[in-house]
């Protein structure tokens, strides 16, 4: 991991191993939940991988009834909607991910601010990041 360049491919290899990787700036301490070679906060290049806890709160979400082509092909659609979310991680940054373990037929019961925890979904030969409400 230490030798990986800060790319999406390296980040996805982390997902495949059940790890949510981010990067932390060695200069200003800012954390990003996606890899990047330059710190967006201080513009420094002193970044290193960190394994994030995968715990956070639901910042925003949606239940998608009209999916893009890859998810249509996976069987999602009007009769089988899925949820997606923006999650604010306890380490500070946010990340977009699938939202599982919620009743997509009763989205009014899903609460912004709810604590969630990361899960790793196998979809074909890819691993997709998801979160599930805790408790």
């Amino acid at each position: 991991m230490a030798n990986d360049v800060f790319t999406r491919a390296a980040w996805e290899r982390g997902l495949a191993q059940g790890k949510l990787l981010g990067v932390r700036c060695g200069d200003c301490g800012a954390v990003s939940a996606v890899p990047r070679a330059l710190c967006a906060a201080c513009r420094g290049g002193n970044l290193g991988w960190v394994e994030l806890s995968g715990r956070g709160t639901l910042a925003a979400f949606t239940v998608v009834h009209v999916p893009p082509t890859p998810l249509c092909a996976a069987g999602y659609g009007r009769d089988n909607p899925y949820a997606a979310a923006v999650v604010r991680l306890v380490e500070g940054p946010a990340i977009t991910a699938r939202l599982v373990g919620v009743d997509v037929r009763r989205p009014e019961g899903i609460r912004v601010g709810a604590p969630v925890r990361a899960e790793f979904l196998r979809e074909g030969d890819r691993t997709v990041l998801a979160f599930r409400p805790e408790g």
Partner: protein, 419 residues
């Protein structure tokens, strides 16, 4: 960055094609239609030979029509070669960005007369492919695999906003009802009809067919019916979303010193601003667009006016929630109050601050690369008192256009005034 223009710049002509779904028309046909409409709008006539450059806003002719390198083709289609012709892309803000770059080029003295146009031909693709294409305005590495679609992004912002400010989702329908009301007075609109008229039409059609007749008593019942108004990305439903549209728009941008050659009633560009932001996951706050606040601040400073001086605005209502965020980000209403102001009718054409008198993206239609330019076309008409049945009363003299790209990674704001 003072935002001041190097020299004063005016609009002296404005036109647009009919917006809608036109299976037989390619983007060049839509562009020619807008160009001809613009020619008719120039009071003292336009010799196209006076146009020195063509700036074109277009999001994705590559994916929508499998056509790249669009600008020279369009220049040729109206006989403007060998003039410089170039395309600018910032997703749904392509049109506003194009207008801004034309204004800056004229202000810098590079040209005196520039055609700023926008075009998008979207309806040739099936809905899923349009969904894929629009999603490329977000982050295809981290947002698309998470399952986000464009309606999904704004739906998520709606949940964050509702959670913070206690907005009931049905309040968003007031944006749609208002913008359809405005569009019912705009014959260029894709849906020149109120939601009530759409409902009545469906009832009439059901009667004609002899099938079961829906029992909707009013627009609210119609909008509550998931059959008539199905969810697209909860909490947003069909009538919360702008449609898929074919259309083009164009304005003629000139140095003020030559404006009188074209008209004695030019519209002046008082201020322009543009800003950028991270994708949705890179933001601290999902209930406001930082790029919109920043672009607006630049434009207000350049124009030397405060939000209270604006008499009407065209804002980027790609989804109903987007209009609520816009009227707060622009400083018209305090954070959390935009939805109430809308419910109270403050933004109707006859209210204290008319918003989207054209029908907005919601009902006029949203051919993405054209939308920012079409906003300027509407303000041109309103500021010259030529908006017909939807003319804002009281002789408006200062107006604002707000055009967003993606989920707010780009925002461009223009303030226009009567010359």
């Amino acid at each position: 960055m003072s935002g001041k223009l190097g020299r004063p710049v005016c609009l002296v002509g404005a036109g647009m094609s009919k917006f809608g779904a036109f299976p037989d028309k390619d983007s060049r046909d839509l562009f020619v239609e807008a160009f001809q409409d613009l020619r008719g709008s120039v009071d003292k006539g336009l010799d196209p030979g006076e146009i020195e450059a063509v700036y074109l806003g277009n999001f994705s002719s590559d994916l929508f029509e499998h056509q790249g390198h669009l600008a020279p083709i369009l220049a040729d289609w109206v006989g403007l070669t060998p003039r410089a012709a170039l395309r600018l892309e910032d997703a749904c803000a392509s049109g506003g960005v194009t207008l801004r770059q034309a204004v800056l080029a004229v202000a810098a003295g590079a040209y005196e007369v520039v055609l700023a146009a926008g075009v998008e031909r979207m309806t040739a693709l099936p809905t899923e492919a349009v969904t894929d294409t629009l999603a490329t305005a977000g982050d295809v590495l981290y947002e698309f695999p998470a399952g986000f679609t464009f309606p999904g992004f704004y739906a998520a912002m709606a949940t964050a906003y509702a959670a913070r400010y206690g907005m009931p989702y049905e309040a968003l329908w007031e944006v749609a009802r208002k913008n359809h009301l405005h569009a019912s007075r705009n014959d260029k609109a894709q849906f020149p009809m109120t939601i009530r008229e759409i409902m009545d039409r469906r009832i009439a059609k059901a009667r004609e067919k002899g099938g079961p007749v829906p029992g909707w008593k009013d627009e609210r019942e119609f909008l509550r019916d998931p059959g008539a108004n199905p969810p697209v990305a909860w909490p947003l439903r069909l009538f919360d979303c702008s449609p898929i549209t074919d259309g083009a728009a164009a304005v003629l941008v000139v140095a003020e010193e030559v404006a009188r050659r074209f008209t004695d009633r030019p519209v002046r560009v008082l201020g322009t601003g543009q800003a950028s932001d991270a994708c949705l996951y890179g933001r601290e706050d999902l209930t406001s667009l930082r790029a919109a606040r920043e672009a607006a601040a630049q434009a207000y400073t350049a124009a030397g006016v405060k939000p209270s001086r604006i008499r009407l605005a065209e804002v980027h209502d790609c989804f109903t929630i987007a209009e609520v965020l816009a009227i707060e980000d622009l400083g018209f209403f305090p954070p959390g109050q935009g939805w109430r102001a809308t419910v109270d009718g403050a933004t109707r054409w006859d209210g204290p601050l008319p918003v989207n008198t054209s029908g907005g993206l919601k009902a006029k239609g949203h051919p993405v690369g054209a939308s920012g330019v079409a906003q300027a076309v509407e303000l041109w008409k309103q500021l010259r008192g030529e908006a017909g049945a939807r003319q804002v009363p009281g002789d408006p003299d200062v107006a604002l256009a707000h055009n967003v790209g993606g989920t707010g990674q780009t925002c461009v704001v223009h303030i226009l005034g009567r010359g």
